[in-house]
Amino acid sequence: MMMTENPERGDGVRPVLSVRDLTVQVATTEGGKTVLDSLSFDLRLGETLALAGESGSGKSMTALAIMGLLPKPMARITAGAIRLGDRDLTELTETDYREIRAKRIAMIFQEPMTSLNPLMTVERQLCEVLLAHEICSRRDAPKRALQLLKDVRLTEPERRLKQFPHELSGGMRQRVMIAIALACDPEILIADEPTTALDVTVQAEILDLIRQLQHVHGTAVLMITHDMGVVAEMADRVILLREGRQEEAAPVRKLFAEPRTAYAAALLAAVPRLGEAPERPAKPQAQKLVEVDDLTVRFDVTGGLLNRTVARLHAVEGVSFHIRAGETLALVGESGSGKSTIGKALLGLVPWDGSIRIDGQQTQGRSRSAMRPVLRKIQMVFQDPGASLDARMTVGDQVVEPLKVHGLAKGSELTDRAEWLFRRVGLSADMLKRYPHEFSGGQRQRVCIARALSLSPQVIVADESVSALDVSVQAQVLDLLQELQDEDALSYLFISHDMAVVERVADRVMVMRLGQVMEEGRRDDVLHDPRHPYTQRLLSAVPVPDPTRVRQTVDVAIGKEPNSPIYPVGEHPDRFALEELKAGHRVALPD
């Protein structure tokens, strides 16, 4: 520790970093655009300050400005000061900054894979940092690196040292990133959405780790996040940003208990909270629209000299379920659980085995052209509305494209239809001639929903359809989906990793892990009375947007990562048998 440089460490009041009137402008074709407007705050020793806000609020810009990593010459600091001790960081040269980064301020990023060098072992990357900042001698570096991995509680640290980033899971990679960030024992740790790309159980572990390390080292943490759940779990104080301006700054409990600004109140109200969703009205037992029996999807993993199949990825293994007319079935699970693959299989986008019947029609073995009549009954809305629209076509053309493809309308009928669809999803018809980039994220998702509706399907597969949206927009899109269901008795297969969102929309919930069903049943049974340990773990890991709740330490085995669904050719995963606890509530039996 750097006691000599920082005699007052642990004091808890003196600011280590103070930002005054920080203003950042980005160059656009129309001239300078202010993305951060006179932001001021102090970061005190040992505290966690959360910078929260929706996309475009300038929270990441703040982090980059402090680190001196603003993309030059596009963005620049036009006014203000960033004081670290007695130095103003805005006046530093690039060479001076190297002394600051890692040594005094370290940063961890959202995507641990892209922040690690894929061609270097963990040991080399750790040693590189240690040696570059002369933390220890070349001889001691490996020992020190091992200690750092132990500090971040990686399992089998000796083995991890020799591994490359691609051999580690997402959570392990983020642990390595944290180890690198802490290698020089910095005074300040900036964490930019550190858990956004991770599964919720892993997120809980990483947040817990950051908390504990902060406790031991007394590091000040600047936490940047869009997730009010994470804010509530981590922060001492919060600064809420909106369009580059500070909207509200308050201690975390105060902000959640009595927000002063209307924006903060609205934002907090829009955050879905697990356990607070309204009752779902009971629905009559309608006919089964989707019947899936023993669905299995396997992907070949090829490799070696002759590109032979060396292993198989068992993405979905013997899954059976049904969806009734007008009902929402939510598929939840972590990454690699096979939930998206099931959605794709329903539309024939991946090769599969088993039986899928849509409105009574068997789709097994159909060619792509034979699938076309089925596709009129089932459509899909993808996760990222930006990526699922063609940037080079007007939205009006895209919305009615399915009608053209199926030869259901032409000429002026298409325009009428497009206008009708646009109004239906709450967009104005004079936007039809625009291109996707002229819309906001939420509007784009509405366009995608309009396109999926154009064929008047009975079932819509919504694959993480609101995950990429800000919470306030998310709530609006969820309301739209609900409205459409109420009007037309649409059925949804709602695929999501977000338990709070699932609770809002689902009639029934199916929990998946590594391609198999762990638990399935009515929403209240699964979410409020979970029987399978995995469901219980999943639910307890969800960050709760309530700072008064006692922060629990994670009791799951630290660093325990899920098994891989990849098996050698000829080997199969053991299938779990499902036991019916009561009508419609099935749970996988432990093996």
Binding site: L349, R372, L375, Q379, M380, A387, A391, E401, V405
Partner: protein, 281 residues
């Protein structure tokens, strides 16, 4: 589209050059100051060397006393045809192969791309000589031969780009609404590939014109005494130190042609991209 091009100064400049060259090619017989084939004694100096620019011969004369200006004007026909036709065929063929292999993948890609690799590994010049020797040399054949050699790079580039586009969600969406492959290729993949196609297509112009010159030099290209910019350079390259204008002027024309297509191509690419609408660059 034309008015949008003309609003951009650089593109308008390129367009003017292209139009001027096309007019030159069409009206060559009427605007040539001299007979481009006449080997005149007046066109040589006392030592029997070519005349420098100025005087009766505007751009000087070549080794045989022929008027360089007239030969360049007539050569526009050959070079423009080769540049546009050969390059056009190469671009279309290359793009078609690349996009097909990229979209369908699997065996289609394996066969098409291994064939492309084979063509790449084969010495281009040797292939051109063989092809030119089989067919009687004529302008059309020379253009096609050059196209056969030049499509390979294009198909490689387009293949790689298509592979990554196919993984994107908006193509997945097309599959999920049941679009047939032809529709996906033309309406959704092609517009995204246009910028690469245009960049590669315009870059190809100058190499194509020079490849024609190489073929002419080896006797399998355009047959003398028919002039082309390329073969004027090659015929006279040994006199580069004493009569530099013989290389300088045709070289300048080739550069101008390539530049003009480049400027227009760049502007086209921007105009076709709706995300850049309203911006000028």
């Amino acid at each position: 589209m034309l008015s949008e091009l003309l609003r951009r100064p650089r593109a308008a400049f390129g367009l003017v050059i292209i139009v001027a060259m096309v007019l030159c090619a069409i009206f060559a017989p009427w605007i040539m100051p001299q007979d481009p084939f006449e080997q005149s004694f007046d066109g040589l100096d006392l030592m029997g060397g070519p005349l420098p620019p100025g005087g009766e011969y505007l751009l000087g004369t070549d080794l045989l006393g022929r008027d360089l200006a007239s030969r360049l004007i007539l050569g526009t026909r050959t070079s423009l045809t080769i540049g546009v036709l050969a390059n056009g065929v190469a671009v279309m063929l290359g793009a078609a192969v690349g996009i097909t292999a990229g979209y369908f993948g699997g065996w289609t890609a394996a066969i098409l791309m291994r064939f492309t690799d084979l063509m790449m590994a084969f010495p281009a010049l040797l292939l051109a000589i063989v092809l030119a020797a089989i067919f009687q040399p004529s302008l059309l054949i020379v253009a096609l031969v050059i196209a056969m050699v030049n499509w390979v790079q294009m198909s490689r580039v387009i293949y790689t780009e298509t592979r990554s586009l196919v993984e994107r969600d908006f193509i997945q969406v097309q599959r999920s609404i049941g679009s047939n492959p032809i529709r996906i290729l033309i309406k959704h993949l092609l517009p995204h590939l246009l910028s690469s196609i245009i960049v590669f297509g315009t870059l190809g112009i100058s190499t194509t014109v020079l490849l024609e010159a190489t073929l002419s030099f080896l006797g399998v290209g355009v047959q003398p005494p028919m002039p082309s910019w390329g073969n004027i350079i090659f015929e006279n390259q040994t006199y580069f130190s004493t009569a530099p204008w013989l290389v300088f002027f045709p070289g300048l024309l080739i550069v101008l042609l390539a530049l003009a297509f480049n400027l227009v191509g760049d502007a086209l690419r921007d105009i076709l991209d709706p995300t850049l609408k309203g911006r000028h660059g």
